[in-house]
């Protein structure tokens, strides 16, 4: 038996498999970066949308993932900055783990401060990461960054070509979604939501809110690390500017635009945020303004994002179906 939801998922997957066929390199590249940013934004969605902890540090975690992977996979250099020449399959888990651990540490301020203050703390961390990447050039290549990260070769499947790299990214994306889905529907996911909705009540019901807050940060950051680990071989050139604060803000937008707390919200959000500048290119310099205005309008009129908007419309169309369960039993209450 196939549920309606699974049909949609299957349709989505088929669409993702067919999407790059017959397209030029640039479109395939854009699709890759859409999937990668989707993963980072889904991680942020766990931290922000599910657990209710704001973070402006997601680009810093992408940086941690990207630089770690770059340094581990680049071939050793005779002069200048070189790497260890390890395979991506080794570098990726180390990168994800590094982001997880740093995320755990960044979670500690969240135990003390909330809302705007937490935004500032995480913003400061993003800036700090940027400065470290720029100034420690013996390790990071400074403003010149790191160049020439190899794309993983799995023997039977070399991801050197753009299309192959896309399918590699898609495979990682699918596995990632399954893992995230597992976390969200586990008791941990329930505890994340409880933390968001009423942390005091959650604590009184035995939820260790300290631990759950730290985990929300760490897991969300690990997803950022994974995305970074894919950015390095996709772009094959990373520099501090690729992970500046503006990218954290972008990912925040992806979550908000798609609908915070909806599982696939960030995928839609990432699509909009990445593709909209392309569509608005004809407006030349004005596209950023149009873009910003659209986002503001969306946040005011549709705080639950595009998925939330879809739900509202769907409920309007099927009003008869949505009768509250107690209405017909009112008399007994």
């Amino acid at each position: 038996m196939m549920t309606k939801r699974n049909m949609w998922l299957l349709a989505g997957l088929i669409a993702l498999i067919l999407a790059p066929l017959g397209q030029g390199n640039y479109v395939v590249y854009t699709l890759c970066s859409w999937l990668i940013f989707s993963m980072a934004a889904m991680g942020l969605n766990l931290t922000l949308g599910y657990a209710g902890q704001i973070s402006l540090a997601q680009s810093a975690f992408m940086a941690i993932g990207a630089y770690t992977t770059a340094l581990l996979t680049l071939p050793p250099a005779e002069d200048g900055v070189g790497g260890l020449g390890l395979h991506w399959l080794v570098a990726m888990p180390i990168s994800v783990f590094a982001a997880f651990v740093v995320g755990l540490i960044i979670g500690f301020p969240a135990l003390r401060v909330k809302g705007h203050f937490l935004a500032f703390v995480t913003l400061a961390f993003t800036t700090l990461t940027f400065l470290v990447l720029r100034n420690e050039d013996w390790l990071t290549g400074g403003t010149y960054g790191l160049v020439g990260m190899p794309r993983p070769d799995f023997g039977f499947f070399n991801t050197g070509k753009q299309l192959r790299f896309y399918y590699f990214t898609l495979a990682v994306f699918v596995v990632f979604c399954l893992l995230m889905w597992g976390i969200i529907r586990s008791p941990w996911g329930r505890a994340f939501k409880a933390l968001r909705e009423n942390s005091i009540r959650a604590e009184s019901l035995g939820v260790d809110t300290r631990r759950i807050t730290l985990l929300a940060f760490a897991i969300g950051s690990a997803a950022g690390g994974l995305a970074g680990s894919l950015v390095a071989p996709l772009v094959q050139f990373i520099e501090p500017g690729s992970f500046a604060l503006v990218h954290s803000l972008k990912m925040l937008l992806m979550v908000v635009v798609g609908g915070a707390g909806f599982f696939f919200g960030p995928v839609i959000g990432a699509g909009v945020v990445i593709l909209m500048p392309e569509f608005l290119r004809f407006t030349e310099g004005y596209y950023l303004m149009i873009y910003a205005a659209t986002v503001i309008v969306l946040i005011i009129f549709c705080p639950k994002g595009l998925i939330g908007l879809g739900e509202i419309i769907r409920n309007k169309l099927r009003k008869d179906k949505k009768v509250r369960g107690d209405m017909d039993k009112g008399a007994q209450l």
């Binding site: 586990s186 008791p187 505890a191 009540r201 019901l205 369960g325």
Partner: protein, 248 residues
Amino acid sequence: MSNKVMSVSNVSKRYGAIQAVDDVSFDVYEGEILGLIGPNGSGKSTLFNCLLGQTRPDNGSVEINGHNASGLSPSKLNKLGIGRTFQQLSVFPEMTVLDNIILAGQEHHGSMFSRLFGAPDAGLTPEADRLIAFFRLEHLRDEMAGSLSYGQQKLLDAAMAFMAGPSIVMLDEPAGGVNLTMLGNFKERLRTFNKEHGTTFVVIEHNMEFVMSLCTRVLVLANGAIIAEGTPDEIMNNQMVIDAYLGG
């Protein structure tokens, strides 16, 4: 009725110029239904919060089943077998009734590890369904808690305090905003729970009818201090209590 399950000694809490809780000591005995009454602002909720790790008292200590429980976090106290509600409605509005109830029990099952890799419901759906039925919320099981009426949310809020099989349940104004028929039902539910599981209750309530017909013993708080203690009958005929309530 001689087993002490909770022992409170000299608990005080001051907010600025207000002595919210003033050197309060009392014991709670196994299986009793202890009422805690007093005028608005007499310190009942603050006392609860001091005992349950929500607020740090300036002074005093709490023992639970003979072990020092002062300074423990609310979640630790919950794990020690104390279920509670807050005076303000506290459900998780964007989770279903079922998820609210499962959440209230999941941290008592398995380990951190099994809660990630085990069953999504931590194996608690049957138990949650029994509790939901016990509080007559079956028809609302899959509704978002936030879409329930105030009284229904109040009932759900109380039900959550029971999910982990607590030995002591502390309720802060469970009857507030609940209609009479439902209130009668609720009182029956508490009694049944008390009889069948030997659960001890401490109940803050303004509804005198409710307190006097439910509780086996009543404490009266005024200006943060205990001014009377006794059976419902004794309390209703106590001049000090009558004065405290009528503007003494």
